[in-house]
Homo-oligomer: 479 residues x 2
Amino acid sequence: MFRNRMPRYEVLSQDAMQALDGGWRRLMTEIGVQFADPRALDLFRAAGQKVEDETVFLDPDFVLEQVAKAPAEFDVQARNPEHSIHIGGDAMAFGAVYGPPFVREGEVRRDATMDDFRNFTKLAQSYPVLDSAGGVICEPSDTPLDSRHLDMTLALQTLTDKVYMGNVVSGVNAADTLAMTSILFGSREAIEETPATISLINCNSPLRWDDRMLEAQFEYSGAGQPVVLTPFILMGAMSPVTIPAALVQQITEALSGIALSQLIRPGTPVIFGSFLSNINMQSGSPTFGTPESGLGLLCTGQIARHFNLPFRTGGGLTSSQVPDAQAGYEALMTLLPTFLAGANWVMHSAGWLEGGLVAGYEKFVIDAELVAMLQHEFTPLEIDEGSLAFDAHQEVGHGGHFLGAMHTMERFRTCFYRGEVSSSDNYERWLRGGGQDTADRAGEIWKQKVEAYEQPALDDAVREELEDYVARRRTELGD
Amino acid sequence: MFRNRMPRYEVLSQDAMQALDGGWRRLMTEIGVQFADPRALDLFRAAGQKVEDETVFLDPDFVLEQVAKAPAEFDVQARNPEHSIHIGGDAMAFGAVYGPPFVREGEVRRDATMDDFRNFTKLAQSYPVLDSAGGVICEPSDTPLDSRHLDMTLALQTLTDKVYMGNVVSGVNAADTLAMTSILFGSREAIEETPATISLINCNSPLRWDDRMLEAQFEYSGAGQPVVLTPFILMGAMSPVTIPAALVQQITEALSGIALSQLIRPGTPVIFGSFLSNINMQSGSPTFGTPESGLGLLCTGQIARHFNLPFRTGGGLTSSQVPDAQAGYEALMTLLPTFLAGANWVMHSAGWLEGGLVAGYEKFVIDAELVAMLQHEFTPLEIDEGSLAFDAHQEVGHGGHFLGAMHTMERFRTCFYRGEVSSSDNYERWLRGGGQDTADRAGEIWKQKVEAYEQPALDDAVREELEDYVARRRTELGD
């Protein structure tokens, strides 16, 4: 997996960090955080926190004590050990887009289906730069709602051998994911020993954790599986319009959720989550790849490190409806800061389109290229006698060219990143090739990849046990 | 003008800087640099440097003595004082694309004309984020070659009131630019007092300064006008394929040219130039917006600061043939590092397409948006009681929304960057608006801007004197 050994870009001064520190302490103490689950309220009450109805007024120092119990780094196992990942430190893991109800394929935008889900899962398996297909790559509308999580989990388990995300629609769905993960890895003990699935727990920002998400959190944290406690903030709607206020709210929400995880099971792994952008104040539409989200992202990394926590943020986000110039620059406007901040768990790394409503096939290919480019860019230079190439200058002299120099011949195959979807063809050659734009080329590439996909091997007995589980549970759920 | 008060992102360790230091000293001493102008050779010889034919073997410490004479920061005046700029420190100035023989307008790619040149000049005048139209925004093929520089300079002087670049095709052209600049600013003394034009002197990399460029350099440096001494490096062709070698060569070339400027006129302003990308090793095509160029750009900033020199690099570079997703991400892959490095003079900030062969109307609009977004992103956060917005949380409470909060109402007009070409319309609204992609929208915007353009006022006597000069010189040049 990729290790980001470049420096972190930190933009908050000590004074700024102190002002934010004062801010979240006050918010947590005086406004408090709501938890819509009686078990959560009981845990906080038993730990001496003030609880009124669903609101918990948290002592910041108590919260920091809980946060300190969470590991700074941990491993997550994949069924193929080569695809197991590390979360934290300089490790960065990349997963596909999560949640879109629609897909875009060329000029067609339509409801996502289970076939789409399988296609995207295959694509995620095909790209070495992706560490995970994620979870709900798209929401397959042609499968029954109550048992859909079973189909998706089975696809993630069998079509990829990479880490996958757990379903969080309810406690029941989370329990199913844990049961199926226990089957895949041999036992519940095996996954409690080394976690095998990561789940996304979103806050109902501002300052409220809802019942279904908390049910899922109780299941996953109880089983020692990492949860990403994520404030879901579109500034102007779910938080004040100012970035410092959004950061303060984000800290308050994330730390309160992390504290709960540690009360459920001390030491259970967590990820400091961030999903931070803003709305268009004229239309109310969410906007992505904005200057404000980029700046917020950089701050988030610095803040998470301050609390010694691995963190999730970033991805290839865009508001654009199609995989055009805006989709390209907005995706990079988020992805490049993702690398500058050194995010550890990067959701939405490939395929995000139209504010997250659409999983785009072409966008998936484009984003995977961006991740690959940035992995190259964020690899420190090696400077030695060979890379300084004095001998090449002796060979070439003034005003010459290095195309045929020995130094070049020895390195030309690997010296530069080779793009897959980007074109540097000259105009005549490009015209002869059909004058395709990036989206056209990406459209050919994803189809080739799905065509060339090979399913990773899986023990027949395990596959049967998983299929039996899905069949039984589908019946029990009435589908 | 924009001041970049965010931190610089520096990726070279002390050890790396030392290795590069050893590299350029060796290259300069043992391989030397060619200067194809006898006056340059005489100056170096007179200063005690070893000269063999056209090759000067430079003493690195002598070069550093010369470099130390160049100012770290300086002003450049525009005829509208509000558009005068500062070069160096945290100031960043942005100019349009420079040099393309072709233009692209929608689906049409064709030879550039003087009308195109005027259109782009008007666009540069219209965008507040651009400090200059640059120089050769495009190469107008419908004007006579020998007097073309007069037409272009007159257009830059009369259609904009911003800083413009000087012509460098020959010493004669440079002298004409200086004469016309003296007319516009009142006298030669006025522009020697505070420079009024910036010129681009490209190296014939590797390690050779050609005669015409040197002629121009003698004119401009002799008049105290800043020159951008720019190694022109596409790694794999004009330098070895390794980034450290390219950096060493870049330092050697830039410093050798800067040393010459200081021999011509001690203390004359210079800009450490960088144009650093790589070729596609399969096809030999130049590639832009690559990981290697991004990394080289970050290093260049750190190196220029090490020598206490203002520097030029970056822009919205791309290999893409059309303003598509690739054009968007490659432009940003260069522009974002431009801000991280804090480049002082940013050529090619708007309009670059197809490896610099094409000035793109739509791309111009897209790039100007990127520059505006990044200027917002690279503005430090202000953290105070108001921005922490505790009162807004008291007003809104848990799970509510901030759309109508007092804190929001007070700030909603200015709180977020408002894009011009980016769209966050929801799908239905976007369809109703015609389902345009970014390039379509940009196509409407540039036409509106040219339509709405207002020519800045200019004293009639000055205008007549400029026009007389152009008419007289055109006749003298035989056109």
